[in-house]
């Protein structure tokens, strides 16, 4: 919903929250359901109501647990039965500087302030430890915003007795903890409140009257930021940028003004501001965002513009360059198809409001109101499209992988026979039970895969680790490599044993290795391992969603028999393991390095 995109009108959202919620529920479909416990050091009622709106807009339908006012710590430490019963998927601890119990006084020695700090930190440390052992779910914890007054003025930051100084120290302890713990994330309200304006962020009236740590108007900013973290944790980040060229990546129109006439580079102020934007975009590649061009231009002119000697982004930085006179909605849809991405995984960036509106209305694609060129970075950045929670080494390599895919596509076109093409790829697979180094990636894949996903069951890292440790399951991951590069872990299968039957809970594969025979290799390995475990029958399940139609008949293709289908299209398949099972994969050398 456009009203919930950054930059949003907070007052409007607050006032209209009931009708916005109604609209979101009416219009949305294919929500994923999540149970979210909000443990607050202040009243969290409105935070929850507004967080719900942003989450619904991100495709997540939340159910909330709300702690009693300021009972965040007690709820966790004393196992509040309601919270235990609630079984949260995620815990959000919303504390603020109002929850700091004691600040240093001027008479304290340096050691005494350190002790105080340690006591405050330990209070949180105990709670986090307890959550980790009891709930095993991701945790989002606020750090602290600065106090609204400074006894020591500017020295409050440098003097060990200053509150600003104390909060800085506490925040750096929090950051250190987050750096060492998976599934633990700091919501940086220190930064958020600074962006927002500290004097506006909190309002003593709201604290003393209603026990709100934030002013009402700041709540949407806080809630939006949490929703971005949650959607990122559940793999719902955007994946790619589709960028216009003229007046978006440079000043002027390359077709009219010529390469020498466009503004990019250090010569003019306008050139500089576009350079800074290009630099910002180039950095997105490091966090795994795919860059593409979607421009109304002659291709030749577009390429010439991108080859401007002062340009930061070069043609090589993009995976797809669509520069033609077709509607941009068509170009974007084609691009998505070619990259095996859904259109909604794109963010469309264009200086022209009319183009933005067309793309939004034709496709389910977000296109921020980016304002004037000097606003571009702030607006894209604060929109949180690519919020980083778990950065895997895969993310950094993603652009490279897409480049390799482009080379494969070229090679494929040079063969008449598809089998010859597959042979020429010299593929090597590793298919093994889950291993510690891949747990993160396996969990990530289980949350990201939408299309090639039979049951759409989502796993946290902790659940993946539990599955791996248990004898009840057969779990395998598949990694695929070829002469162009390493695709990393691309497929996961999990089944739980039920006597001599194996029920498959999960079968997923990354779309970037479609039609490479990897699914057959996984099937072969699954059958071998199942047989070793004394399994006679494998049951596969297909639960339809808006996006996984491509695997509706997948088990049929693997040799399963359809034994049941209900009115919702849920299918149950059966595979009897025969003694003379013949391997299906012909092109991938599996586990050949051993």
């Amino acid at each position: 919903m456009q009203e919930l995109q950054y930059p949003f009108d907070s007052r409007y959202i607050i006032k209209k929250k009931k009708s916005i919620k109604r609209q979101l529920l009416e219009q949305g479909s294919g929500f994923i359901d999540k149970r979210i416990a909000v443990l607050g050091g202040s009243t969290t009622h409105d935070i929850i109501m507004i967080l719900e709106l942003f989450l619904l807009d991100q495709g997540i339908r939340p159910q909330f647990y709300e702690s009693e006012y300021a009972r965040y710590w007690e709820d966790v430490m004393f196992d509040n039965p309601e919270l235990v019963e609630f079984k949260p998927d995620i815990i959000y601890i919303h504390t603020s500087n109002r929850n700091i119990r004691q600040y240093p006084t001027l008479s304290m020695s340096a050691d005494e302030t350190e002790e105080l700090l340690k006591a405050d930190y330990d209070h949180y440390l105990k709670m986090w430890g307890k959550i980790e052992s009891s709930y095993k779910c991701p945790v989002i914890q606020n750090n602290f915003e600065y106090p609204f007054y400074r006894l020591l003025g500017n020295a409050d930051a440098t003097d060990i007795h200053g509150r600003v100084n104390y909060i800085n120290r506490l925040n750096s302890r929090f950051a250190e903890y987050a750096g060492k713990h998976k599934d633990f994330f700091i919501q940086d309200i220190n930064y958020l409140s600074a962006c927002y304006g500290l004097d506006k962020w909190s309002d003593p009236l709201y604290w003393h009257m209603y026990k709100y740590a934030l002013s009402m108007e700041a709540i949407p900013t806080l809630a939006f930021s949490v929703s971005n973290m949650i959607k990122s944790i559940y793999g719902k980040n955007k994946k790619a940028l589709a960028l216009d060229l003229d007046n978006t990546l440079w000043g002027g129109i390359v077709g009219d003004d010529g390469v020498d006439g466009i503004e990019i580079g250090p010569e003019t102020s306008m050139g500089q501001v576009y350079s800074e934007f290009q630099e910002y975009l180039k950095m997105q590649k490091d966090i795994g965002v795919i860059l593409n061009v979607c421009s109304k231009n002659e291709e030749e002119n577009a390429i010439a513009g991108l080859n401007h000697p002062d340009g930061i982004l070069k043609p090589d930085d993009f995976i797809e360059i669509k520069a033609n006179w077709d509607p941009k909605s068509k170009n974007l849809a084609d691009m998505a198809g070619e990259l095996n991405l859904l259109p909604e995984s794109f963010v469309f960036v264009d200086d022209n409001p009319a183009e933005r509106e067309i793309v939004r209305s034709q496709l389910n694609v977000v296109s921020p109101e980016i304002g004037s060129v000097e606003d571009y970075i702030r607006i894209i950045d604060h929109s949180g499209f690519f919020e980083v929670t778990n950065l895997s080494s895969d993310d950094a390599k993603r652009n490279e992988m897409y480049k390799e895919n482009a080379k494969r596509a070229k090679l494929e076109a040079s063969f008449d026979n598809y089998g010859d093409y597959l042979t020429s790829l010299e593929m090597k697979g590793t298919i093994k039970p889950f291993e510690p180094v891949y747990m993160e990636r396996i969990a990530q894949l289980s949350n990201k895969s939408k299309q090639f996903n039979l049951t759409t069951k989502r796993y946290t890292r902790a659940e993946i680790e539990e599955t791996a440790a248990s004898d009840e399951y057969i779990d395998i991951y598949g990694k695929l490599q070829d002469k162009f590069g390493d695709n990393g872990v691309v497929s996961v299968v999990i089944g739980h044993k039920n006597g001599d039957v194996l029920d498959l809970d999960l079968w997923i594969m990354s779309c970037r290795v479609l039609k490479r025979d990897m699914e057959f290799a996984m099937m072969d390995e699954l059958v071998h391992r199942a047989r070793e475990a004394g399994i006679k029958i494998i049951h596969g399940y297909y639960y339809p969603t808006a996006k996984n139609k491509m695997v509706k008949d997948f088990y049929g293709l693997m040799g399963f028999e359809l034994i049941n289908e209900d009115s919702d299209g849920n299918r149950t398949w059966e595979f009897k393991i025969k003694d003379d099972y013949k391997d299906k994969n012909q092109y991938i050398a599996v586990n050949s390095d051993q």
Partner: protein, 83 residues
């Protein structure tokens, strides 16, 4: 601004906040008269009224306010100095 004008706009605010078109408030209306007017929605309501009339309730006023009539008195005082 006349009392009537204030009420016209105030009723719109109430209808938005409670998401119900059938609400009409008057001088004697209190929280007990409107279904769902609890302490939490009260906060949203005060915020929305502040925005609508571009005023700010101070704490002393909020603490003492007994009914909608007193709220309207405050709104009229707060907007009177403006032309």
């Amino acid at each position: 601004m006349s009392r009537e004008e204030v009420y016209t706009r105030l009723n719109e605010v109430f209808r938005d906040v409670f998401d119900r078109d059938d609400i009409t408030v008057g001088d004697e209306t209190t929280a007990a008269d409107i279904d769902g007017w609890d302490s939490l929605i009260h906060i949203t309501l005060m915020d929305a009224v502040e925005e609508e009339f571009d005023i700010r309730f101070d704490m002393k006023t909020v603490v003492k306010m007994k009914n909608v009539g007193e709220m309207v008195d405050f709104i009229i005082r707060g907007t009177a100095t403006r032309s």
